[in-house]
Subunit: 234 residues, 2 copies
């Protein structure tokens, strides 16, 4: 269950993004055009970033007329939204892959697990810059981010579920392990998220996009370490 989400609407909801169609195109009717278009759009985003998610190009890739897409999407925005969701999902997978490598409940293990989440985030941004950028493009739905919770609030269910359960859990473990004062826990996920997200943005989009891999590694360790230090300070 790491599969599809079948965005909104009329979806038959089936494919696990990767190879999608139940059958290649067989004549006039395609069989799974919606997913085929999403896959093509994902490819485009991977190659050229959000601006490359061009409806006509996706249709061309699938071998179908441009307007065929309108039987499955309201328009380009909805197609793009599907790409965005896919990017978010891949990001989460990358974080989880990092976090899962660190076992144990000891203070150091938990700390190391927080670092690993951050490294996963950065790794995804660098390996799939186009998808990463797409995942954080402003687009119509997706609001409803915060819900009060003591002082600062936490990310709302919607986003949490898809993206940051693991970060939140791991920060909770940090408290449980005695590495973070409980009163400083609320809102900590935002500091961690902002820091890692900002680094990723600067590395991908920003003025840090020409670093050597060693520099990137060095900087990543430093930045993640700094915010973790701040969060775990007495």
């Amino acid at each position: 269950m790491e599969a599809n989400t079948s965005a909104a609407g009329s979806g038959t909801g089936e494919g696990g993004r990767g190879r999608s169609a139940r059958q290649g195109k067989r004549g006039y009717h395609h069989g799974d055009l919606r997913n085929a278009l999403i896959d093509a759009a994902i490819e485009l985003a991977g190659e050229g970033g959000p601006d490359a998610v061009v409806l006509r190009a996706a249709a061309r890739r699938v071998g179908v007329s441009a307007t065929a897409a309108y039987r499955h999407f309201e328009g380009q925005a909805e197609l793009f939204h599907a790409v965005k969701e896919y990017g978010q999902q891949r990001l989460v997978e990358c974080m989880e892959a990092g976090g899962r490598e660190i076992h144990g409940d000891g203070p150091e293990a938990v700390k190391e697990r927080v670092m690993a989440l951050g490294r996963g985030y950065i790794r995804f941004a660098l390996e799939e810059p186009g998808l990463f950028r797409a995942a954080f493009c402003p687009s119509f739905p997706d609001p409803i981010p915060i819900t009060e919770d003591g002082g600062l609030g936490r990310i709302a269910e919607q986003w949490r579920a898809r993206s940051f359960d693991m970060l939140i859990e791991t920060l909770d473990e940090l408290v449980a392990a005695g590495m973070m004062p409980p009163e400083r826990r609320p809102g900590a996920e935002l500091s961690a998220w902002a820091t890692v997200h900002g680094l990723a943005m600067l590395l991908v989009d920003g003025p840090l996009d020409t670093l050597t891999p060693e520099q990137v590694h060095c900087i990543t360790e430093r930045v993640i370490g700094d915010i973790l230090t701040g969060l775990t300070a007495p």
Copy 2:
């Protein structure tokens, strides 16, 4: 001297972005079309973000044919670049405005000054989201970001001069005031920058774009405080 930069090329270099033309359009020849187009493009970015920086729209606003722009820019990309530079400049001004309000060399004053820079950054992002986004869009020139300097390196002259001298100086003051161990100084500007930049991005683009002003304020203080704690930890 807070004025223009007159991007590349054939510029007559004059106007301090704001009201530009030496004279309104007087017939066939405009007089200062380059700057007028830049101003229009800046307006567009302010209203609709980077994607709204449309060459034809800028020309329309100035009251000139679309292709007239090609006498002053290589194409849309160069026009956009001018907008980007303007956005960066405005961001710096906003940071400086924040930093200048805090006087004194004492440890607390310096710390407070670092906070003020971060607040200025966030304030600009929220007040001018379109320009802020444009300022960090990937675009052709602008690379050359880092220069080795001991372990991590600092932002290269080019960027530094325009954007982060003040941050760098203030972090140096932090060391001088005994608030930061000197050995942890190199690279600290990246942690600070990444954190604040990430927060700004999440607030502007990302899933945190529907917060109340109080929530924003609260979160900002928290996030900036956390990274500062991390940087000044023994």
